[in-house]
């Protein structure tokens, strides 16, 4: 079986070669910046979290197991998400921010339609969600975590995670509507 480029890179990463790590950084830092910015709003914090993530990768590359193409990216993403969560938790009263609003669920079954929205604008919308909503939304959508898992990760109740997600969804629907309206307004 031929070794993939990814595997060869990992080999060099294991030897802690600077060139290999630079290559890794070059190839993945853009995507990881995106992953991290989903969770962490402040640009400076994104810098710090990413730096910590790469240091963590550097140290625990031994624990990486290759499982086919893309597994390196998945591994790096997981580390970055973990570091981001760590950062969010450290930053303060995360728990209270999530739990505090016990508003009843808004009966809103409409689903957000991102089809025609440019990716940068999607990103803006996600970023503009309140911290707690955003974290739950990200974990559920992009990290494919169940509400049970999210509850475990964030130390909140399971139904709290579900309702957070629900509300994030509602907010996004609203934001998309606003976005489309403003676009329309531009044309008129």
């Amino acid at each position: 079986m031929e070794e993939s480029k990814e595997q060869i890179l990992v080999k060099h990463l294991l030897k802690k070669e600077e060139a290999a790590w630079k290559e890794l950084f070059g190839a993945y830092s853009g995507n990881l910046t995106y992953v991290c910015s989903r969770y962490v709003a402040e640009r400076e914090d994104v810098h710090d979290v990413l730096q910590n993530s790469f240091i963590k990768m550097f140290r625990s590359i031994e624990s990486f197991e290759y499982r086919g193409s893309g597994s390196l990216k998945a591994w790096m993403t997981r580390i970055t998400v973990n570091e981001s969560l760590k950062h969010i938790k450290q930053k303060g009263d995360f728990k209270s921010a999530v739990e505090v609003d016990d508003l009843p669920d808004i009966p809103n079954e409409e689903e957000p339609d991102f089809e025609e929205i440019p990716r940068d604008d999607i990103m803006m919308m996600i970023k503009s969600l309140p911290d707690g909503y955003r974290t739950v939304f990200n974990l559920f959508v992009f990290e494919k975590k169940s509400h049970k898992e999210i509850a475990g990760l964030l130390g909140i109740a399971e139904n709290s995670s579900a309702s957070q997600f629900h509300r994030a969804k509602g907010l996004l629907v609203q934001k998309i509507k606003e976005f489309k309206m403003s676009k329309k307004a531009q044309y008129e």
Binding site: W21, G30, N31, Y34, H47, K56, S63, R78
Partner: protein, 465 residues
């Protein structure tokens, strides 16, 4: 609920990129490689030294004698490499940082590795105390401390690996059969061997071994079944190592969690830990809450080294006894892919065999024979290293000794090849099969799991007439 929009959004954003914060790489580089700057990168070494290898070969051609010595040195190097690969870091393949007790020869390796190791452990310690910013500091200072060690390791290894490359170049030329022949020279040549060649060779082996292991590891990790690749690439001896481990090792699988003894974890083990919030086991259990878990135990093929005394009874028959050393290694992987408990068990046995040999062919210095006999083994030491991995990060690592070590009885039969090196001393290799009588209280090893199994013995035999 319709999840289509979720999938759409996910795939849409999958390879999205954002602008990387400015100066991020410089900061990371500063943190990780700041003291590495004057060092050339180890990855380039093979090329550099390949040129050197050519030169060396020419030089060798000049003097037959020095070539002879060199071959002796090389043979010694291979044998040592082989021995060390076998005895030492077989479970380095698992990427644990556990370190076997080192003897004098491994001192060198220890020196260069220990800082790394301790650093890594302190690193993971720090990581488990995630919450506090203090821990973060430890983590960071850890990095800077690591660099000098890293540098030392790199430069050292540069020289050695480089040299070793030369030798490998030369080694690759002789045919596989010849490499066996070379081995025979080890014992002959080990004393008079050319110092300048031999000294560095011996010293650099530990480092090289580790590196080799790392390379081999890649192969293990993802395709335990396909060994063809390692076969054609490596020298005769090394390929046997990988071939063995991959094809003959025993694997046990259980649903749920298990300890290395092969028993399912009992409720107490699982729940007594949940009181402590930072406990790594709890972390694993939590992380795996809603996922199917399974445990795999893999036993590696036992490899035995022996010193045996042999007494000829007539032309064809002979009896032998001696002293054997066997190392059994097993690994446990319990949990899911990202969150799991990893256990590495190593048990060392010293045994006394009684063998009867029947010589089938005898040609010059070469003897082919079949052998059968019995073996009593006593485990002299054993240890289990347990590593907790949560989200692909090592959370905790602990090592404990195995206490209960009953005697182990077995019978075996094998086909043997022996090559007489000098008058009354020969070296032998015996691939064979053995049956180990089950001992319930013994540690869970391949002996227990697969009482009937293949093994491989190497050794030195002294003939008594």
């Amino acid at each position: 609920m319709n999840n289509e929009w979720l999938n759409n959004l996910r795939s849409r954003m999958d390879d999205h990129e954002e602008d990387v914060p400015e100066g991020l790489w410089d900061d990371i580089k500063g943190e990780l490689f700041s003291e590495d700057e004057n060092n050339s990168i180890p990855g380039f070494i093979p090329e550099i030294h390949e040129g050197g290898a050519g030169k060396k070969e020419k030089g060798a051609g000049a003097g037959q004698k020095s070539l002879f010595y060199r071959l002796g040195g090389i043979a010694a190097a291979i044998a040592l490499l082989f021995l060390l690969t076998k005895i030492l870091p077989q479970n380095d393949t698992d990427k644990t940082l556990s370190q076997k007790p080192a003897n004098a020869k491994k001192e060198k390796e220890k020196n260069s590795l220990n800082p790394l190791e301790t650093e890594n452990i302190s690193g993971s310690k720090a990581e488990s105390g995630v919450e506090s910013p203090l821990a973060e500091n430890i983590l960071n200072t850890g990095v800077s401390k690591k660099m000098p060690a890293q540098k030392y390791f790199n430069t050292e290894e540069k020289n050695r690996v480089g040299n070793y490359q030369n030798i490998q170049e030369i080694i690759k030329l002789p045919a596989a059969a010849e490499s066996f022949h070379q081995e025979s020279k080890i014992t002959q040549k080990s004393s008079p061997a050319d110092d300048t060649v031999k000294e560095p060779i011996i010293e650099k082996i530990p480092d090289e071994v580790l590196f080799k292991q790392e390379e081999v590891k890649e192969v293990y990790a993802e395709n335990t079944k396909h060994t063809a690749k390692s076969h054609d690439k490596k020298s005769w001896m090394l390929s046997m190592l990988t071939g063995n481990v991959a094809s003959n090792s025993a694997e046990q699988q259980f649903p749920g969690y298990a300890s290395i003894t092969g028993k399912a974890m009992n409720v107490e083990q699982v729940w007594s830990t949940s009181e402590y919030h930072d406990d790594p086991l709890t972390a694993i259990l939590l992380a795996n809450q809603s996922q199917p878990v399974e445990a795999r135990i893999r036993h590696k093929v036992p490899v035995t080294f022996g010193l045996s005394l042999y007494y000829n009874l007539g032309k064809r028959w002979g009896i032998g006894t001696g002293l054997n050393y066997t190392k059994l290694a097993s690994e446990l992987h319990s949990g899911t892919e990202n969150n799991y408990i990893k256990g590495d068990q190593t048990v060392h046995y010293i045994g006394i065999p009684v063998q009867v040999n029947y010589n089938v062919i005898q040609k010059g210095r070469f003897t082919g024979y079949i052998t059968g006999g019995a073996l009593v083994e006593k485990p002299v030491s054993g240890s289990v290293t347990t590593t907790y991995v949560v989200n692909d990060e090592i959370k905790d690592s602990s090592k404990e000794r195995l206490d209960h070590k009953p005697l182990q009885f077995s019978v075996n039969t094998a086909v043997g090849f022996q090559l007489k090196v000098i008058d009354k001393v020969g070296i032998y290799a015996e691939p064979g099969i053995g049956y180990h009588f089950k001992e319930e209280s013994a540690p869970n090893t391949i002996y227990k799991e697969k009482p009937f199994h293949f093994n491989m013995k190497f050794g030195i035999r002294v003939l008594l007439d």
